[in-house]
Symmetry: C2
Subunit: 471 residues, 2 copies
């Protein structure tokens, strides 16, 4: 791994609390995948910085000797950031990346019909190859849009890992399982999590039971035991809708959150997707596990599937639970565009709180960065541009008419930016998008592969379904 | 005016009722600003087409002689549409275009503070030059995003007209007035409407009283009388929020709609912006004027300013009133992106109706085209790609990863497309955007002018305000 320097760039600073700021004309120094210093353009980085952040191989560079960056050794890649804004690479906190293959194939349907008439019947068509082709397309879409990490939940996760590794993106992967897969199916998914945990520095893994309505309490309990013993967290769906919560109460005498509690899932640590159907009694339970619980919210999906008011963000924050922003799969969200998701979250929060001052710019940017880093299970190493964190950085060009004049770059990021404004992207210090082009994937090939297989994914002629939706 | 041929393009067909369709591999023939024929690629257009749609100067072309288009005279500009989708140019049904100059300068504020602390104090800084610079930027933004017509309501409308004429966009312009401007101010605005009505084939004009809470009944009555006598329609704000409706009831014993009725505005014909605060008693009144009433809805604004559930689209449609889609000004909407607006309208309708099957793809595309053409006061000449209508056409490139694979182009248009996918745009048959570049404006100059004046618009040091918001 090398060193790089992003020169003369404006930098979005997202503090833990309080107002976000933009520091103009900065140099971002990177060594061994980590940000080592952010200093005013042209000034040498502090000599102690590299050492202090634990990157021993970087502390002998020319930078620490005080010479200007451009005069240092040829090993330093210099990226001209003039006119660009550096922001923490976005994190897609909950998705099913290969479902891009079904984009636009299940529109204007109730959640029941979406699952039972389209998606789960379509998923009988999944093969390793088709998942990999879909995942490569998803990685391409996300990287070009400034998403540097995605938190995934899907089948054939080993194939998704390969696509992520190849593309240069970072991912946390949860191999999906239903109880209907039987013990062997669950064991295979568990084994995949173990395998993926050590496969590559940019890949982490989670256990992936699908939901409390598709995985038995016995299987959830076993998952929780393994998670605690082996140090994994659990990524699953729970309380997606209030109707699900009511049905779960009717069937099991407990809410989905209570089931997660009594099976030990919350004790092990969980990323809960959606949590739109929480009851008042759920909050004290979640509060007891706030140190190890995060929630992913996907607002476009809640609007599109008419799922009600969505995740109760403010109530979750009040008990110390961080909420990351995600897209869910593109079979319902249609894009993997986290800019779109964060804008919709800000807008819907103002609407639902009946307060235009709710979810101000700095708060929504914090959710899209620091909170989402927590949802990705990397709260201390992702989600902010500061020395010691991974160099996952998106450089935006805000010069197009739809962002101009630029009275407030933070407002542009939330309310006017387009994914197409992403100019250059680094993950772990490596350039993965340069001047709007993918560095590691052949986009034409990725698209051709996806187009050639698309019909096979949406074919309903085989009959059957991977599962039936009846929460 | 010349002839053009868009060759080998897919075409979105939006019928008056029923499902939208995409007809693949078509040739769109254009003469004298009008679509003369749409036929399968390579087939000659019907010889009678040009004559039948009332374009006498076109009926002598080589096309009607039955020779293939490429063999016709050099006057025919051929645009290669291979791989592109032609859709009716979008229509921004309600905006204040020069307010792009305040983009991002009034965030996270209540509607009261937005008006009284920011926007109306800022508008004391308006000058003809600043309005023109803003309007040029707005035209640039809209054209690049496939917007071919905007329905505007603002001050110094003569300057906006010049920007529109220069850029090649089409516009309906309503010079704004308050009663506080006094008789001379109102007369000047009325005179501007008259002047603009004949200034250019692409410009139409409307009367522009601001709202029922800023224009007296006496002035509204006089406006209505002039509108009827001179054949203008009236574009104004009414029933923006339920609070406004209640306040109007308290002050005047009538709802805003009842005031529009008793002053003759509805009889004259009106485009009503927002109409979010309608009461049950308003619907029968509007129904009596459905043949001459349209409503513009701007969903992003209602979310952002926490204005409640927005325009009651379904109830208005039930009484035969067409609803166009708009952005409102960029000082609140942050963009002039009608793709964003139509997507938000589809999503929020599903949410508010608590029905994922509400506002299906074909319906939202119909609102963005035919209904919005009605809001632009050109229901018969804009809003559809069919012989006899104006050749206002956006060609989209849906080949990027976020739209692929393309199972359903209609779904892409509503749920995944970005404004940056707009490739080529024609207005009245003239190419105004070619391969994502403006044909008539120097974008660098437009942006430089806007940046250099931006600070003057948001300067609050002069004190005062153009109006006080107290509906």
């Amino acid at each position: 791994m090398g060193q790089s320097l992003i020169r003369n760039v404006d930098v979005l600073i997202v503090p833990e609390t309080g107002e976000c700021q933009v520091h103009e004309a900065q140099d971002i120094h990177v060594a061994n995948a980590v940000i080592t210093a952010i200093v005013p353009t042209g000034t040498p980085p502090p000599a102690t910085t590299a050492a202090s952040v634990g990157t021993p191989s970087a502390d002998t560079t020319a930078h620490s000797a005080g010479t200007p960056p451009l005069d240092s050794t040829a090993r330093v890649e210099v990226i001209d950031g003039t006119g660009l804004l550096a922001v923490p690479g976005l994190i897609n906190s909950h998705t099913h990346s290969p479902m891009v293959m079904m984009r636009g194939a299940a529109e204007d349907l109730s959640i029941n019909d979406w699952f039972n008439q389209r998606i789960w019947p379509m998923e009988v068509n999944l093969t390793p190859e088709r998942v990999r082709v879909g995942a490569r397309l998803a990685c391409a879409e996300m990287l070009l849009a400034g998403v540097t990490t995605f938190v995934d939940h899907y089948f054939h996760a080993d194939q998704i890992a390969q696509a992520a590794i190849e593309s240069g993106i970072r991912a946390d992967l949860a191999p999906t399982y239903f109880s209907s897969a039987g013990p062997e199916g669950i064991d295979a998914a568990i084994a995949t999590t173990r395998d993926l945990a050590t496969i590559h520095p940019r890949i982490t893994a989670s256990f992936g039971p699908h939901a409390t309505y598709t995985v038995s309490e016995e299987d959830l309990r076993r998952t929780a035991d393994l998670a605690r013993a082996e140090g994994f967290r659990v990524h699953l769906h729970a309380a997606e809708t209030d109707a699900e919560t009511q049905a779960t109460l009717d069937k099991h005498g407990a809410t989905p959150i209570e089931i997660l509690d009594r099976t030990g899932i919350l004790d092990a640590g969980a990323l809960i997707a959606h949590a739109c159907g929480l009851r008042d009694t759920d909050f004290p339970i979640l509060a007891r596990h706030a140190d190890r619980t995060t929630v992913a919210t996907c607002p476009k999906v809640y609007l599109k599937l008419a799922m009600g008011n969505g995740t109760p963000i403010e109530q979750l924050h009040a008990i110390g639970i961080r909420t990351g922003i995600g897209t869910d799969g593109a079979a319902v969200h249609n894009t993997l565009d986290v800019w779109e998701s964060l804008r919709l979250l800000a807008l819907t929060q103002k609407h639902q709180q009946n307060n235009a001052e709710s979810m101000p710019l700095s708060d929504i940017l914090r959710l899209a960065t620091r909170h989402s880093a927590a949802a990705a299970n990397r709260p201390d190493t992702l989600g902010a541009l500061e020395p010691g964190r991974q160099a996952d950085i998106a450089l935006l060009d805000l010069s197009a008419p739809h962002n101009q004049p630029l009275h407030d770059p933070r407002a542009a990021l939330v309310y006017s930016v387009r994914a197409s404004d992403v100019h250059t992207v680094l993950v772990a210090g490596e350039v993965v998008v340069r001047n709007r082009q993918l560095a590691n994937l052949d986009l034409a090939e990725v698209l051709a592969d996806a187009r050639s297989l698309a019909h096979t994914l949406v074919d309903l002629s085989r009959g059957g379904a991977v599962q039936h939706y009846a929460p």
